[in-house]
Symmetry: C2
Subunit: 151 residues, 2 copies
């Protein structure tokens, strides 16, 4: 139930991206049962390819946390993280990732391709939970892509 509640918050962030004409992905960071950082995809608005939901949420959470170490935190995100965001998750020591929809093209977790090398480099790999609200988050993405293709 707790996972569902926080994924709903991430989904609300994704809606903000949708409303601003961005690929609708949202993320929240949770520590001790409270959200300490939020973010949604703002690549077009900020003209910045690093402005993924996860990066913005990690930056916000770190600032609130007064530490770059988020090792007691869980990241909730509506789409499977890409390589950059998986790297940011590792750098910030997030220890659990809950994602909704899989990203067959650019997702860096579900393939498990990178896991062995990452564990070797960092000495750990976060706990991964996937699929919560996957239909809703996938539907939001497909609605967005249908909409921009019709423009």
């Amino acid at each position: 139930m707790e996972h569902l509640r926080f994924m709903q918050s991430a989904y609300q962030e994704a809606i903000k991206a949708f409303d601003e004409g961005e690929v609708p992905v949202g993320a929240v960071i949770v520590k001790n049962g409270s959200i300490i950082g939020k973010g949604y995809n703002r690549i077009e608005k900020l003209s910045d390819a690093t402005a993924h939901a996860e990066i913005i949420a990690i930056s916000a959470a770190s600032s609130r946390n007064n530490s770059w170490r988020l090792d007691d935190c869980t990241l909730y995100v509506t789409l499977e993280p890409c390589l950059m965001c998986l790297g940011a998750i590792m750098q910030s020591r997030v220890n659990c990732v809950v994602y909704a929809a899989t990203d067959k093209k650019l997702g860096a977790i579900d393939s498990h391709y990178y896991q062995q090398q990452i564990e070797h480099s960092f000495g750990y790999f976060p706990e991964i939970i996937s699929g919560i609200m996957a239909p809703e988050c996938s539907h939001l993405l497909s609605t967005f892509f249908r909409k921009i293709r019709n423009i």
Copy 2:
């Protein structure tokens, strides 16, 4: 000669990090022979694990470029990029990476481990040039780590 000149600029950025007590890594982004973005490691100052030199330089360059696409740009960085920064390089479509020192622990390029999967996902891999000013950039890093261990 051009590579050396721009790596010297990246090195100057690394010196700024050193002077602020950060792990000394610096980066610049070059387009059409001009630097359009700079950055140095600011993890501790900003309490943000995503504040690597490359991420800051990419954000700055994208802002100046008025586009998140940096596909006609070269990134110069004093240390081999980590997985997060390699992901940011791919997301921003940087097409050439020049780095100085290798990072045996967290470097994501020299091992070539990730290259095949990345090429499969993104359809390209940047040109890589390494070793320019490697001794100077490595020396700056080892001086930094000796200094903080003595405190």
